[in-house]
């Protein structure tokens, strides 16, 4: 049986009873140089990715996040020949993993996903609607940047407008909600989404969402704040 990895954590927390992972396999914790690694036994080392399996992997990381301190989630699809091989590999990277665990301790990841980049209503003069609202110190709804984004949207460049809008929002959030942000990464565009991950302390999740909402009052960019998640984006390449 191969050993499939889900996450690494610094505290010794009991795996919730009945927790299952990929293909319904039982999740258990093993010790690796003082760190707890949540794993399950899979019949084949080659775990082909499916949406269902990805959901199962994420569900285990979410369960780990729900109990005890924040785990470092492991990327989908990593298996070892057996438990000993997994332990050896973890041990060989323990310094980096401990550094990552310290970085994400007490935090969760939120992902700000831009769904429209200044193309929400298509109304040419609708910028005047924001005249009475509180403008962001970074982005003005009346500015040349906004006009440029509107032009992109009109020209059908929704993807580019979304990416630029994402970066605008990221800077606005960095400016307005900085005390709530432990860390944030640059915008990415992948598989049709423009997004950026933010690391926030667990008690600050609601405050962060409220701060984003306030920023959006002066914007014409539609977005969603997804999460909280185990901090995949801040786990780095251990």
């Amino acid at each position: 049986m191969a050993t499939y990895l889900y996450c690494v954590r610094s505290d010794v927390t009991t795996v919730p009873a009945g927790l299952t992972g990929v293909d319904g396999t039982a999740v258990r914790a093993i010790d690796a140089v003082g760190m707890a690694v949540w794993v399950s036994d899979v019949s084949d080392a080659a775990i082909a990715p499916t949406v269902e399996r990805i959901k199962q992997h994420d569900a285990v990381c979410a369960a780990a996040l729900a109990v005890g301190d924040t785990p470092v989630p492991i990327r989908f699809g990593q298996t070892f020949g057996d438990e000993a091989a997994a332990t050896t590999a973890i041990a060989s990277r323990q310094a980096t993993l401990r550094q990552r665990l310290e970085r994400v301790s007490g935090c969760v990841e939120l992902r700000v996903v831009v769904t429209h980049g200044h193309e929400g209503d298509g109304n040419e003069d609708s910028g005047s609607k924001e005249a009475g609202s509180s403008a962001s110190p970074i982005v003005s709804a009346e500015g040349p940047g906004t006009a440029f984004l509107r032009r992109l949207a009109r020209e059908g460049r929704a993807d580019l407008a979304r990416e630029i809008g994402c970066e605008e929002i990221r800077h606005a959030i960095r400016s307005s909600a900085e005390p709530l942000v432990v860390d944030q990464l640059r915008c990415e565009s992948a598989r049709g989404l423009a997004f950026f991950p933010v690391l926030v302390r667990r008690p600050n999740v609601s405050a962060f969402r409220s701060a984003v909402h306030e920023i959006l009052l002066s914007q014409r960019i539609a977005l969603s704040v997804l999460g909280p998640f185990a901090p995949y984006s801040f786990a780095g390449d251990a």
């Binding site: 990715p49 699809g77 990277r93 992902r111 769904t115 929400g120 298509g122 539609a222 997804l226 995949y232």
Partner: protein, 76 residues
């Protein structure tokens, strides 16, 4: 911000796939992921992205050019 009801399910699935496949610590071992070669994921994503872009395209088509001309979007 337009007042519209957005079904977040496709968005969440696309984000889930981005997050779990592309991020997280890499310990090595037998890594089965090669994102460019994931047929099943691509299939599911096609459905997700089609759902998103179809709605957007219809909105845009109706808004921009009632005659039926549609701007070409980025190929996924």
């Amino acid at each position: 911000m337009p007042d519209e009801v957005i079904d977040h399910a496709p968005l969440e699935i696309a984000d889930l796939i981005n997050r779990v496949l592309d991020k997280g610590a890499v310990i090595a071992g037998s890594v089965t992921i090669s994102v460019a070669d994931i047929d099943l994921i691509q299939l599911d994503l096609t459905i997700v992205l089609t759902a998103i872009e179809t709605v957007r395209s219809r909105e845009r088509r109706a808004r921009e050019d009632p005659s039926g001309h549609v701007s070409v979007l980025r190929a996924q």
